[in-house]
């Protein structure tokens, strides 16, 4: 039973990682590790995402043209950082996802109110 819940939670997380990333990079440009930790902090650990999910999602979003990236020197002697920022297309995509999310969450909430 607990396994079922785990699997279900995992699927919700997977779906929400893209939205979380789009939200974070729409506020300001951020680098990969910052996105990993920000998701953790902003959701107070509720959305615990692994590097193994964030980077593939970032690369996919970039390939789809929703975000772009640029390398930036931080300080000499240290690896440069790859900053991601949202594109116009990404903003539009984000708005749609937010609307879908709210509609869906609202619908489920109304459904559960019937209990």
């Amino acid at each position: 039973m607990a396994e079922d819940v785990d699997r279900w939670t995992q699927q919700i997380r997977k779906g929400s990682t893209r939205l979380a990333i789009l939200q974070l990079v729409s506020e300001r440009e951020r680098y990969g590790y910052e996105i990993v930790t920000s998701i953790r902090e902003r959701t107070k650990g509720a959305l615990e995402v692994a590097e193994g999910n964030v980077y593939p999602a970032l690369h996919a979003l970039e390939a789809e043209g929703h975000i772009t990236s640029s390398w930036r020197e931080v300080e000499p002697g240290v690896p440069p950082r790859k900053y991601y920022r949202i594109t116009a297309r990404g903003r539009e995509h984000r708005s749609k996802l937010v609307k879908e999310w709210k509609d869906y969450a609202g619908a489920i909430a109304r459904l559960l109110e019937g209990e």
Partner: protein, 245 residues
């Protein structure tokens, strides 16, 4: 935040080693190498800051790597979305790559033959009129058999040529995963499990290239019997494939 000397010495080779097992284009490899190094540094920096250190130590980086799923987990996260499904290559591109290799080896062998002749011809009494009309060309073209030379000397040149040819393919395919011809045509050899070739693999899969009829037969069997697997008989025995990469 700066890294300790030890941390710096660890980071670059570790990341390259992690990615070495994965087939990637050169541009993609460079991008992922930097992003992975950048990630480990940033994660290590967070650890160092939390511990009140002023430099990122090697241990910080190693812990960051473990936290991110270890070598395999991290490589999978970075590489998978970028690596296209491996496309095995059947004939034309490989034939083209081989033609380039033959051309380059032909040029190199001209010099090798010249050198061997210059150094050792007097020992064999070459040029003294003792010669053979038998041409061994069909048997071993890499030797460019000059029928004005005594057969024993032709054989010596043939052996030297074989060493050069096998050395070229074995060294490059085991170290770089591809000969210069394959590099030019964006091909790469790997084991069927995706691992790089060992020297033994590279040597064995290239042996057939010493003898044209053997190579033609090897390739014909591939075209007729293994068009799906896209492996020469040599490839099937050794367990290697040629892919676009």
């Amino acid at each position: 935040m700066q890294m300790t000397t030890e941390a710096r010495a660890w980071l670059d080779p570790t990341v390259r080693r992690i990615l070495a097992r994965h087939p990637l284009g050169d541009a993609e490899r460079a991008g992922i190498t930097y992003e992975l190094m950048s990630h480990l540094h940033a994660a290590g920096e967070a650890r160092a800051t939390a511990a009140g250190h002023s430099e990122v130590s090697r241990q910080d980086l190693e812990l960051a790597l473990m936290e991110a799923g270890g070598e395999e987990g991290l490589a999978a996260a970075f590489v998978q979305p970028l690596s296209k499904p491996l496309e095995r290559v059947l004939f034309w591109r490989r034939a083209g790559a081989f033609a380039i290799d033959v051309l380059l080896l032909g040029i190199a062998l001209t010099f090798v033959h010249g050198g061997v002749t210059l150094l050792l011809a007097p020992l064999f009494g070459a040029g003294t009129g003792v010669s053979s009309d038998e041409s061994l060309w069909g048997l071993f073209p890499w030797g460019f058999h000059d029928s004005s030379l005594p057969p024993a000397f032709q054989a010596l040149i043939a052996v030297a040529s074989a060493v050069v040819v096998m050395g070229y393919f074995t060294l490059l395919e085991a170290r770089e995963g591809r000969s210069l011809g394959k590099r030019a045509l964006e091909l790469r050899v790997m084991r069927v499990d995706g691992q790089p070739l060992t020297s033994r693999d590279a040597f064995l899969r290239n042996l057939a290239k010493l003898q044209p009829f053997v190579l033609i037969l090897d390739t014909l069997v591939m075209l007729l019997a293994f068009p799906k697997e896209k492996q020469r008989v040599s490839d099937r025995i050794v367990g290697t494939i040629v892919v676009r990469a």
